[in-house]
């Protein structure tokens, strides 16, 4: 080696050696049970500052729970709202660097992927010690279970329903108290609204460029028909089944007829639930939440709710929303558990969740004073028991990814009138993605 290069070379070598010694990601630190509960099933409330992340799609409900907890406890939670589209990226960047917060929620469909990669602390013994655990809806807990260990609890229950504008229904000559009970009736109601020919008013709206929006709102139609959209292992796509093809052709017809708001074609998700509260959409699939819905353009009494129906009838819903767990990097597990135990307790579920017009996570509290007072909330709580939560390890990569294979399939089917052969071909790309 030339003399004048020796020192820089040695310096570089030292640095490389340092990098090699300190490099590599940390091993998963989800031990089999992060200790047994600290005596009391409620955890510890000793004034610890806790950090928590949640995605923007659940901001209002997350903030309400955190605010109520902070008001009534010594522990204080600092909540960070992460833009929904960036959530997976933000968590993925923090995880290998051991920078996850104490608590973080996850879209329930991401839980199989994240629990299998050791992002959460094992909470099995703590969850099993909850006195009300038998009354907690199991869908989220099942989705948060990996190889027999439980890592998450239901945080925000997000169901999908059809919401319709009763004032527009009445104006169009439809009975506002007799909402659609089949997909065809949904389409006819949308057409009737469109026939009002009012400027800015459209029959329906949907996220035409949003993968997550449409699994959330179209799959229940297939489930109501008893037709699954994936195999049990989540490695084969059945989005080419008869029910889904009927969904595609129905929406394709509505698009062709101009019944769907034109912004639907480019709607990638950020604003898809912003159109119904403007009072200009007749009927559309929406998340099951009335929180913040009513405004000067849409009176509360004009917000109608009905379960998503199948092709020939039946009802179903996508039991989605967020699960929540304690991260592998938390050093305050007992304190973080205090929030989780409180969150599912009666006071939080009734006085915060139900009072805010949202679905409770406990079946024994479904008939609470707030839900009973509003028949729409009764619908929410009732259909929660009839819905499904799909399972796939590569759910996000397949259905939520803007470049994933799900979006091209439904866009081709709805906006380009793709034939059966094309749908089969595109469905196969979804299977390839699921099984990679």
């Amino acid at each position: 080696m030339k003399g004048h290069l020796r020192v820089p070379a040695i310096a570089t070598g030292l640095i490389l050696l340092l990098a090699a010694c300190n490099g590599g990601t940390s091993e998963s630190t989800a031990p089999g049970g992060a200790g047994s509960p600290a005596g009391d099933w409620q955890g510890v409330d000793d004034g610890t500052e806790l950090t928590m992340w949640t995605r923007a799609a659940t901001e209002a409900r997350s903030q309400a729970l955190v605010d109520a907890y902070n008001e009534s406890h010594e522990n204080q939670i600092e909540l960070r709202i992460v833009p929904t589209d960036d959530y997976q990226t933000v968590v993925g960047a923090a995880a290998p660097n051991n920078e996850l917060p104490d608590l973080f929620s996850a879209d329930v469909v991401f839980m199989p992927n994240w629990t299998s990669q050791g992002l959460f602390t094992d909470l099995t013994s703590r969850i099993d010690s909850l006195p009300y655990i038998d009354d907690v809806g199991q869908a989220h807990i099942v989705a948060s279970t990996w190889e027999g260990a439980k890592y998450g609890l239901p945080f925000i229950i997000d169901l999908s329903v059809w919401m319709y504008n009763k004032a527009l229904f009445e104006e169009a000559g439809l009975d506002p108290e007799a909402p659609p009970t089949t997909l065809a009736e949904f389409a006819d109601a949308a057409r009737a609204i469109q026939d009002l020919d009012r400027e800015g008013v459209y029959g329906t709206f949907f996220g035409g460029n949003c993968g997550g929006c449409n699994v959330f709102t179209w799959w229940p139609i297939s489930w109501a028909e008893g037709e699954p959209i994936m195999n049990e292992e989540g490695t084969e796509s059945l989005n080419n089944n008869d029910a889904m093809k009927e969904v595609y052709s129905t929406f394709a017809a509505l698009w062709e007829e101009g019944v769907i708001h034109p912004d639907s074609q480019a709607e990638a998700g950020p604003t898809w639930i912003g159109y119904f509260p403007e009072g200009s959409i007749g009927i559309m699939p929406m998340p099951a939440s009335l929180q913040g819905m009513a405004n000067e353009n849409l009176a509360d009494e004009d917000i109608g709710v009905t379960p998503i129906a199948g092709i020939s009838g039946g009802e179903s819903t996508f039991v989605g929303g967020d699960s929540i767990g304690i991260s592998k990097d938390s050093e305050n597990v007992d304190q973080a558990w205090n929030f989780l135990a409180w969150m599912l307790d009666e006071e939080a579920q009734v006085e915060v969740v139900a009072q805010g017009g949202n679905v409770v996570a406990r079946t024994d509290l479904a008939g609470n004073e707030y839900s009973s007072a509003d028949p729409r909330l009764v619908i929410f709580n009732e259909i929660a028991g009839q819905g499904e939560t799909p399972f796939a390890l590569r759910f996000g990569q397949t259905y939520n990814d803007p470049q994933g294979p799900w979006i091209p399939l439904f866009r081709a089917a709805v906006f380009e009138g793709a034939d059966d052969a094309t749908i089969e071909e595109l469905n196969e790309t979804i299977t390839q993605s699921l099984s990679e």
């Binding site: 820089p8 912004d263 480019a266």
Partner: protein, 309 residues
């Protein structure tokens, strides 16, 4: 085989030869902090990326062993890879031509000192003060059909009858993004070319005028040839920057509609953070790096003036 200790031995640092050695050591001492910075922030990460590209390395579970040459061999078979390469090259060609042409035009306009040139220079340079991500979000708002002011303004002025879907078709999405980039960076290229213009000696123009050369002839035979270094710099910056385009497409179009505006760097991002495959993402990065190095090497070689004309 001189050890450092031999070099530093007192006897060897005395006398004329010792003085030269002292100078060498002092020089190395000055260069060492920079060398460490370059090593830590460039060389080490680069070597890590090379290692990643040869490994089955996931985002959440880390290095799971060698995976070469699969990470590279699988690249071409990805459904988005070649369309992303084609789109990135097409976008680069469009943006490069527009940025340099507009930059040159703006530089020619403002090169003369006058009442308006100072103000014009400021106006042309202002967009540079806005970060690219912020500008992309701003333009997303402008172009939005639900909250944007652009369509209502154009309809109000009678320029269009129905709203334009600025991001809803492949052509519109591309041109809307090109408009953002040209708005933001034309001033930067104006600056480079302005410096180039101002370095051309005045007496050459005077001589040309005396010889009866017209404006176009002067521009073609004097300005452009003498502007060659500045044009070359502008070209390589525009091409490199465009080949690495990411922020504007990630925020404005998200690669849509229908994956028609996916760039190579977006693919890298997707592999790493959506598909959680750092190995494949690193492989795409290395391929892109090699392509850029080759392009720059060819470019600088072609810019070298011939020894004799």
């Amino acid at each position: 085989m001189n050890a450092i200790s031999d070099r530093l031995a007192p006897g060897r640092l005395l006398g004329p030869e010792g003085w030269r050695r002292r100078r060498t050591l002092i020089g190395m001492g000055y260069a060492l902090p920079t060398a460490i910075m370059v090593a830590v922030f460039f060389i080490v990460p680069l070597l890590l990326v090379v290692q990643m590209s040869a490994s089955d390395w996931t985002l959440l579970s880390g290095d799971r062993g060698l995976n070469v040459p699969e990470n590279y061999a699988d690249l071409g078979s990805g459904r988005l890879f070649w369309p992303a390469v084609e789109f990135t090259i097409r976008y680069t060609l469009i943006v490069t031509v527009l940025l340099i042409a507009l930059g040159l035009l703006m530089a020619l306009v403002v090169q003369e000192s006058g009442r308006w040139s100072g103000m014009l220079r400021t106006v042309f340079l202002l967009p540079l003060a806005v970060g690219l991500a912020a500008a992309s979000l701003l333009f997303w708002g402008f172009y939005s059909n639900s909250i944007g002011p652009l369509n209502p303004m154009l309809q109000g002025a009678g320029l269009i009858e129905s709203p334009i879907s600025f991001l809803g078709t492949p052509t519109n999405a591309l041109m809307s993004t090109v408009f953002l980039i040209v708005w933001k960076f034309a001033g930067f290229y104006m600056l480079i070319l302005l410096v180039g213009l101002q370095s051309i000696p005045r007496d050459i123009y005077e001589s040309a005028a005396l010889d009866g050369a017209g404006r176009w002839s002067t521009f073609r035979h004097i300005t452009l040839p003498l502007l060659r270094p500045a044009l070359a710099l502008s070209l390589i910056l525009a091409v490199t920057g465009s080949l690495l385009a990411f922020d504007q497409f990630f925020l404005l179009t998200k690669g849509g509609p229908d994956n028609t505006t996916v760039t190579i760097v977006q693919l890298i991002y997707r592999e790493a953070f959506q598909l959680q495959d750092l190995g494949k993402a690193a492989a795409i990065s290395i391929v892109l790096l090699v392509a850029l190095l080759a392009l720059n090497a060819l470019w600088f070689r072609s810019l070298r003036k011939p020894a004799t004309e």
